[in-house]
């Protein structure tokens, strides 16, 4: 009985396959043709496939440009710590440790204003540089270009950039604990690089 049922099932499957085969083969052929047409259209439009190295190369170029624009010490700060510190009040010629406030520039994160003397956080300034021409599929600049754009805008016209930004209290987007840790890292980094510079002068 079981053998008869099994045989009947096999025969049924074979019959169904024979009936469905022309339709299945036709569907497969048309799917293949559609894929080829899509590929040809992409080639004609100059669309290239995903290039996993493109973003990395863009960032590398952006880092070189940033390095060529900022002070050597600022570049070293960004390279080692991942952010830049810009003194506030550039227009008032108050700079260095005497400046009443300063900014931390992170890539694609708000600019953070703080008081260098106490480490107190003042504000977050959320600002972006969207390129709506979207020539490469994204409106976002590479990380280091975003930092460079913020640095150029801040050092050239601090007031104008701050007026364009959305101002928030500290902690809106960046964890204040993280900023405090970064300020500690910055202080340590400055001590160590000053010590290094002193050693070089002594050795000379």
């Amino acid at each position: 009985m079981a053998l008869a049922l099994g045989t009947a099932a096999v025969v049924l499957v074979v019959l169904l396959w024979e009936l469905a085969r022309p339709r299945a083969i036709g569907a497969l052929r048309s799917a293949r043709a559609r894929l080829q047409r899509l590929r040809a259209r992409s080639r004609a439009a100059g669309v290239v496939g995903y290039d996993p190295g493109r973003e990395r190369r863009a960032e590398q170029r952006a880092r070189e440009l940033l390095r060529s624009c900022v002070d050597e010490r600022d570049w070293a700060m960004y390279r080692d710590l991942g952010f830049l510190r810009v003194w506030g009040g550039v227009g008032e010629r108050l700079r260095g440790a005497g400046a009443p406030y300063a900014y931390l520039i992170y890539p694609h994160r708000p600019i953070v204003a703080y008081v260098p003397r106490t480490g107190a956080l003042l504000n977050e300034y959320c600002v972006a540089f969207p390129d709506h021409s979207r020539p490469y599929g994204s409106a976002r600049l590479p990380d280091s270009d975003d930092v460079l754009a913020k640095w150029m805008a801040l050092t050239a016209d601090e007031r104008r950039l701050i007026e364009q930004a959305n101002m928030h209290l500290p902690g809106r987007q960046i964890d204040p604990d993280r900023i405090s840790r970064d300020l500690v890292r910055l202080a340590r980094w400055e001590r160590e690089s000053d010590d290094g510079a002193t050693d070089i002068v002594r050795a000379a």
Binding site: E55, Y106, C126, P135, A149, A153
Partner: protein, 87 residues
């Protein structure tokens, strides 16, 4: 002088390059400069101040660019970032 533009997904690209003392090349630089400003870009010139520190200057016309500047960098104008997605 080189005119550069920051591009998403690419880094900077050279828009134009020429000698400002050569009238034909200066004309090409001015045209490229105007095109970018018309497209809504900001133009910045990286400079070194008298105390040796580096900074940038935003310029609104080609005549504001120092004649000895090596580069003018164009970048999209600043906008208030979205609360969560951009900074």
């Amino acid at each position: 002088m080189k005119l550069l533009r920051l591009k998403p997904g690419h880094g900077e690209i050279v828009l134009a390059e020429g000698d400002v003392d050569a009238p034909e090349q200066e004309r090409e630089l001015i045209e490229a400069f105007r095109r970018e400003l018309d497209a809504g870009m900001w133009a910045a010139v990286p400079l070194q101040s008298s105390d040796g520190r580096r900074q940038a200057e935003l310029v609104k016309s080609f005549s504001d660019v120092p004649r000895d500047a090596e580069r003018v960098i164009f970048f999209p104008r600043a906008a208030g970032g979205a609360p969560r997605t951009a900074g």
